[in-house]
């Protein structure tokens, strides 16, 4: 367990209305800059866990602390990347990236500087004036990530952002995301259904079980950085993928 946690979940339980338990006494902590991936069968509460962290939904019982404070108090420190790119179709790429900054009252010059910085990070400078419908699926998701990065967050919550992309694009974006994370060192919570993606990206993987949602197992990923396309060829990587797959199959027999 990390020595000085940035995020702490203590016995967090979540139930929507009178429905069944979605999360049951979930406890963990995450150090600043850690990359944690949540993986598990559908309905195990992965996305709910992110929404609790983002303050989009209240906990039923238990506590969440971010930097020793309530997550709502550090809302300005976090950014969320949804499953869909969730871009505003009537705005250009540049203006989409500026939206969160605009909502926070950041002046135009600072917004433009931030936009320029993150467009370079995701290598989309030449698309600044394009509209979302002129972009490919992968480019849209890179804009979505750029928009999140424009806030210079301390924590990134990514809810299966690459799920709809083809394998090649997904692998490229995984590498780009890790490179950006290595520079900026935000704490990341990443939801995925892909074991390979989880192993490639993470410092730790939480395997969640369903009915009710809970952490079934935790796997530390000791692969060295920087991780590149070659990492996927390494024997350690394949062993870890096999190990996580076995654990996942024990909670989700339908998992590959």
């Amino acid at each position: 367990m990390p020595a000085s946690p940035y995020i702490e979940f203590r016995d967090v339980t979540k139930r929507f209305g009178d429905g069944p338990l979605v999360l049951d006494r979930v406890s963990f902590s995450a150090a600043p800059g850690e990359f944690i991936t949540l993986i598990g069968p559908s309905g195990c509460g992965k996305s709910t866990l992110l929404r609790l962290l983002a303050g989009l939904s209240p906990v039923t019982s238990g506590t969440i602390a971010a930097g020793g404070r309530d997550p709502a108090a550090v809302a300005t420190d976090l950014a969320f990347v949804f499953q869909e790119p969730t871009l505003l179709p009537w705005l250009s790429v540049a203006h989409n990236i500026e939206v969160p900054l605009q909502l926070r009252g950041v002046d135009a010059a600072t917004r433009a500087a931030s936009r320029q910085r993150v467009l370079e990070l995701v290598r989309l400078q030449e698309k600044a004036g394009a509209f979302p419908r002129q972009l490919s699926g992968g480019q849209k998701m890179r804009v979505s990530i750029a928009r999140a990065l424009a806030l210079a967050p301390r924590m990134m919550l990514l809810d299966e952002p690459f799920g709809a992309l083809d394998e090649m694009t997904r692998e490229h974006l995984n590498e780009e995301l890790l490179a950006i994370h290595a520079q900026q060192q935000w704490t990341a919570f990443f939801v995925t259904h892909s074991v390979a993606e989880a192993v490639f990206l993470s410092n730790r993987i939480f395997i969640l079980a369903a009915n009710p949602g809970r952490i079934h197992a935790e796997v530390t990923v000791p692969l060295p950085g920087p991780r590149t396309a070659d990492t996927r060829l390494a024997r350690d990587y394949h062993e870890l993928v096999a190990h996580v797959s076995r654990l996942l199959r024990s909670v989700d027999p339908e998992a590959a």
Binding site: A54, G55, L56, A75, T76, L78, F80, F82, Q83, E84, T86, L88, P89, W90, L91, V99, P100, Q102, L103, R104, F131, P132, R133
Partner: protein, 264 residues
Amino acid sequence: MSSKALKVLLPALTGALLLALWYAAHFFLISEERRFLLPPPGAVWHAFIKDAPLLLHAAWNTAQGALLGFGLAVVISFGFALLLSLSPLVRASLYPFLTAVQLTPLPILAPICVIWVGAGLASVAVLTFAIAFFPLVVNTTQGLISVDRNLLELFQLYRASRWQQLFLLRVPAALPYFFTGLRIAATLAPIGAVVADMNAGSSAGDGGGLGFQAVIYSSQLKIPALFATAALTCLLGFIFNAAILTLAWLALHHWHDSYERTDH
């Protein structure tokens, strides 16, 4: 042949065919003593030329009524839609009464309107407003409440104020719906203005519109002039629609798929 040329040529050919059929119907399908019921296109054109100053003035009066009523409907429906988008309870309270206004025929509303605001432009504008308001308010409200849930959550996550959510998210997202309503209303407005003019128009101060003129021609059995009046009404509708379509295209073509093509 390029598709652009075809798009001009095909309607022109269809128009020529329809004119030929019209002439054929006049000369070959109708007995001589009943031919006056379907005047040939040439006679309609002559009637138009003969009464052109009168008809164009009437068309201008109708256009004024239609524009005024339509403009009022746009402004007031937008405010109303904002109110309706606040909650399902507000919508449940007000929708039946909005529907009631829409379901009341103009000829019934017209005399009430004449009593309230007098015959002429004011009545025509109010009645045009009544017919254009409903599609505008229903469509705009639907747009305001149909925003992508993820986008709403994004704004919630970034602690957007109610005003920011409204003007940076809901209003732009509602634009395609608003323009759909606008297109329907733009079709209805000239029709509404003409019907209103027939029932609540006034010739005082040369204020009669096309509807009023149609009533006069009808009483005089000037059938070619009636056809010319109908054609002018049709032209007015086309101008209204073309203006709105152009506006919609300018506002939406760069981001909305339904306006992507330039052949609107």
